[in-house]
């Protein structure tokens, strides 16, 4: 992974938090999603198939949060565990993500952390050294 894009876990007393960075908004959504999945999964099985998700929201933080919530909701609503995420389209207030998934029954052992929600707490996309950067707190 290049220094221009990446993620890391951030300490949070009660819940879980990450910092993600990338050169553009598509990259930032991908890095934040990967950070979320990295917290949730340990040795996930290979992707069984892909699903397309559309997220909508005012540009910036809202769109980012909506993408992550849509990805997360696959577990409860579709019985699918997201494993990989790629942003295939991003225009204005809409993003399309291609999400590699595994049926819940096949990924139960790999699902080690139950992230319940993506919060708005302290949410702000900042510009830092030419990159976009964001910190996100997840409810567990």
């Amino acid at each position: 992974m290049s220094d221009c894009a990446g993620f890391e876990a951030v300490e949070h007393t009660g819940d879980l938090a990450i910092r993600a960075w990338a050169t553009d908004m598509s990259g930032l959504i991908e890095q934040a999603a990967r950070a979320m999945l990295d917290l949730m999964l340990e040795d996930p099985p290979n992707v069984a198939r892909t699903v397309e998700l559309r997220a909508e929201g005012p540009e910036g933080e809202d769109l980012l949060i909506d993408c992550l919530r849509s990805i997360l909701s696959l577990i409860d609503l579709e019985g699918l565990v997201p494993v990989t995420v790629e942003v295939t389209e991003l225009e204005g207030e809409e993003a399309v993500c291609e999400v590699g998934v595994v049926p819940l029954e096949e990924a139960r052992q790999a699902l080690v952390e139950d992230i319940k929600a993506v919060t708005y707490h302290g949410l702000e996309i900042r510009k830092r050294e030419g990159n976009l950067e964001v910190e996100i707190v997840f409810d567990v």
């Binding site: 007393t13 819940d15 952390e113 910190e135 409810d139």
Partner: protein
Amino acid sequence: MAKQFEGTLEKIDDYRWRIPRDESYGMVTEGIVFADEELMKDLRTDAALTQVQNVACMPGIVGPSMAMPDCHYGYGFPIGGVAAFDLNEGVISPGGVGYDINCGVRLLRTDLEEQDVRGKLQELTDSLFREIPAGVGEKGKIQLDEKELRRVLERGSEWAVTQGYGNENDLEVTEDGGFIEGADPDAISDHARERGRPQLGTLGSGNHFLEIQCVDRIYDDEAASRMGILDEGQVTVMVHTGSRGLGYQVCDDALKQLQRAAQKYGIDLPDRQLACAPVDSPEGESYFAGMACAANYGWANRQIITHWMREAFERVLGRGISQIGLQLVYDVAHNVAKFEEHEVNGRRQRLCVHRKGATRCFGPGREEVPERYRDLGQPAIIPGDMGTASWLMLGTDEAMQLTFGSTCHGAGRTMSRTAAKKRQHGREVQSELEGRGIRVRSAGLKTLAEEASYAYKDVDRVIGVTDRVGLSRRVARMRPLAVVKG
């Protein structure tokens, strides 16, 4: 994320601290934190105090923004946060309730002694683990069609009891009788329904648990006896869970809607997770109607789990329930907003009280307290960590004056989940607990590492502060014998 606290903190006495009103920060009232020096050390190192300060900026807040002795950093409100709002000028906020709406705890007493279950703990935990689905994405055994789901959302525990999951006594000693009036199933989304339909009667994961305990020490013989707690060594059982995916979705949906509402009503907030709307606005009313649905679902969930737990005890011990006991002592919600009447500056006033990681603990005489306990005050159930102890407390008159009748909800975390996992593997945590005679059954070892005792504050210290400042008083301490974790 919120910044570490940079404001002014004044010590009022040994157990109370004030964050003075700072208009330049946007505060409309002061903050009050209940903690001793030791508990305050933890609070100074993260952003919990900043969150107390942020809540003090919300419009229409009545009295101070408060933090209970188990307070720690959360999102929006701190965990352990209490705030009351005027019904005309104030707001209602999902950030003051949390995602797991009506996450709560219930305590059951038995006619068993420790020696009656000691040799059966493995069988009991295995049976509980089998009968009560636990862990990420687990589905329950109950099939709900739309009509039945609506009844759950409207009537909570009462629905469960009419379906045979429990009895009238259970309803009598559940906060609000197991349902909040004003729930409107049309106020929640299809996604919330879809998430909720298969999960009724499931424990979930994280800090949710079933625990077999025994009474370690009784502090008030008369009050304990009135609640069926008779002897040290007596077995009790505790259930900690909430409204599952349905509650999370109701909160998620509301936060999205209320971001717009905050703009519409010109409410300037220091944290977007505090998104809110005037209590009497269409948006505020809609959130309350949906939140009440989730709260009712949470009570039904704990009620159904209780029923299956009773069946598991009967099966494993080979005795009828009349010989086992397993009567409900009380059930409390610790993530909820409610309309309550309180005395403010010598006048009775109806308020919208938010408790996020805080427990209602009304003092003696309040009509909301079940008749059998009314002269004692409301029982409050405070779970600790899985290796230490939990507490049965009683509401006080002081709490009515200091905190709108609120107390702590647990031990409160002191270490991040990431740090806890680095310190010990879940298998080691399990092995240590079992070495101390505490049987553990868990859906995941990572959860055990995250929930280890060292990740929490000392619950006895938290309870000591709570008792001495008068937020609730000690009745009995229970220690764990066996734990089932999601």
